[in-house]
Amino acid sequence: MKFIRSLLPVLVVWVLAGCATAPISPPSPVETAALAVLASDAGLREKARAGQELGDFGGPASVPALAALLGKEHLADYARSGLEGIKDPSAGAALRAALPTLEGRYLAGAVNSLGVRRDVAAVPALQKLALDSKAGAAEAAIASLGMIATPAAAKTLQEILTNGPLALRVPTAHAALVAAEHLARNGNTAGARAVLNAVVRALPPGHLATAANDKVAALSGASGAPARR
């Protein structure tokens, strides 16, 4: 059963690759060589380096091979390095598909990579993980929601700040500050203000609430805040 679950992301990526309408350029010689290393019985160091090279030079053809490593000890983070670098949407799809198959630091790693990629399609899965105290990736999911910062992601952060467990309020406040910056940059000042006000309401006075207050003031056109005591 575990074996079948580990194959799930690879199968999903194959299906998605088959559905892709855009023409896929053939792999470069560097990519071909790196993929050959991953498919071989080469040692850890060689496979690790291949994962990094695919982050620099890999394309959609590399995604299945990298996705298959997301739960592998010592190689999972190299695979993430590859998948974070590949801009093709299939890399995000592979990370999303892997989520149900991963645990512990491997799950947290994939969640973080989705945040770094600002993978909008991952928001529903991240919302679930953020509210799942047993999966062990709630804080990573919250941070990624802050990085992705769609209105839906920001709303989840507000919800956790208002009604979520006390232990998650500080990490959620950090994520909310990041989300507010993205929202404001995209012109959604109302959304930014709402998430910042949720931080102020949820936390006692301190540097986090002050940071949120300063950002609210900045959104209102006040000058930039100086460094604070």
């Binding site: 620099d56 500050l177 100086p226």
Partner: protein, 424 residues
């Protein structure tokens, strides 16, 4: 109502029913600094260079160094003994876990001098914890980390000082200010000394991992990719490896010398718009035409520099030039440029004035010389230039978006995945 530490001491004494005798030293009346004015400092990862910086901190009267975190037992013990000997007590606490330093509410500021792989992430975590930060250079492994670091410092309103102490060393300051004064004429070229560019992807042979209390290898690696343990890494020989030393080693000295060139070119708010490597020399060009030349200046005297010492810089205008390097001296195109007096001589490695600048800013909340915004751009330049060198071709860079122009390959090299579970 706010309680000061002094009021707390008096009130506690009354509540406990003890005489309200408070020694003059506690109130700062014997030349010592009163507790309310002290800056409580913790350290993370203080090896040989970190201990040099620590000496400068211990020499400042308002500093109270209270805690050291290091993944190596020998190093944390050396620092604990050093602090306790300085204060004549046994108060300095040591720990393997850097998160314990960040969690202490009484600590105002942290000194971070781990290897480069931890610098940005720890600085960001410290900012999130509400600490001010003095962080050794290079402060980032990638373009993206340089951005994340500065964004976090600004987000939380923290005081940040990169360990780019040459901004506060007399001869370097003199050289930059001479360039800015116009006495060299219009500045057309600035030169930054760098170490040989290198990227090794090798792994040293695997050795048995020590007990975690002796060396915590997992923590030593932190956000860097996993590889098997070898004692050489933890003994300081981690430089030159791609996973531990960002920017092909260019930021090692570029953090200082490129940063000084930025200052002298009056370009602290921008970056060059193009980079092109020719062997071990990288040529940058600013939008206004000023050239930035990053060229070798190793310990063997490469590069035909005039000013003696490591980390040299040279600023050229159409009416003269000046060079400065680590011996504390300057060389100039004409003695007339020194008519107002040559700068005092201090070694370029001396962090004392830089630490003083940081502490002044911790109190005033002003920005120090090596603040996060200046560090962001200086480091981005080093990383961007090294990416051009890696690709072996000219790359163009947009200083506003801080991305390469129409260059997907170069943009992919701007970030690296952090090893789980460490994330900002």
């Amino acid at each position: 109502m706010k309680f000061t530490r002094r009021q707390f001491l008096k009130t506690t004494a009354v509540v406990l029913g003890v005489p309200t005798f408070i020694p003059a030293s506690a109130l700062g009346r014997d030349g010592t600094v009163a507790p309310s004015n002290r800056i409580v400092v913790g350290g993370i990862g203080l090896g040989p260079r970190g201990r040099e910086v620590l000496k400068a901190f211990l020499g400042q009267p308002e500093v109270q160094f209270v805690m050291i975190a290091d993944v190596q037992e020998t190093r944390r013990e050396v620092v604990r003994v050093m602090a306790n000997r300085h204060y004549g007590n046994q108060d300095c606490v040591k720990t393997r876990d850097m998160y314990e330093v960040l969690a202490r509410p009484d600590i105002d500021a942290v000194v971070i001098a781990t290897g480069d792989r931890w610098h940005a992430l720890l600085s960001i975590l410290a900012a999130k914890a509400g600490k001010d930060i003095y962080c050794e250079k290079p402060c980032s492994m990638t373009v993206r980390e340089s951005q994340e670091l500065a964004d976090a410092i600004n987000r939380y309103g923290r005081v940040f000082q990169a360990g780019t102490q040459r901004r506060n060393v007399d001869n370097f300051r003199f050289a930059a200010q001479l360039a800015l004064s116009g006495r060299l004429g219009k500045i057309h070229t600035v030169h930054a000394g760098i170490l040989p560019l290198e990227e090794s992807f090798k792994w040293l042979p695997e050795q048995p991992e020590p007990a975690r209390d002796v060396v915590d290898w997992d923590r030593w690696l932190g956000p860097a990719p996993w590889r098997p343990y070898n004692k050489d890494y933890v003994n300081g020989r981690w430089r030159g490896y791609f996973d531990f030393h960002g920017g092909a080693a260019l930021p090692e000295w570029g953090a200082h010398t490129v940063d000084l060139c930025q200052w002298a070119a009056n370009a602290d708010d921008t970056t060059p718009v193009a980079y092109e490597a020719d062997g071990q020399t990288i040529y940058g060009r600013y939008a206004n035409g000023t050239k930035l030349v990053m060229r070798l200046s190793g310990f063997k005297g490469e590069g035909n520099w005039v000013a003696p010492g490591t980390c040299p810089v040279r600023f050229e205008g159409d009416e003269g030039w000046i060079e400065a390097a680590d011996t504390g001296k300057v060389a100039v195109s004409s003695p007339k440029l020194l008519e107002g007096g040559a700068p005092a001589t201090m070694p370029g490695t001396d962090p004392t004035k830089h630490v003083r600048d940081f502490l002044n800013c911790v109190k005033s909340r002003a920005k120090p010389a090596g603040n996060a915004d200046i560090t962001r751009r200086g480091h981005i330049i080093s990383h961007a230039a090294s990416i051009g060198w890696r690709l072996g071709r000219k790359v163009e860079f947009d200083p506003v978006t801080e991305t390469f122009v129409n260059d997907a390959d170069a943009n992919r090299m701007c970030s690296r995945a952090r090893r789980s579970p460490w994330h900002a």
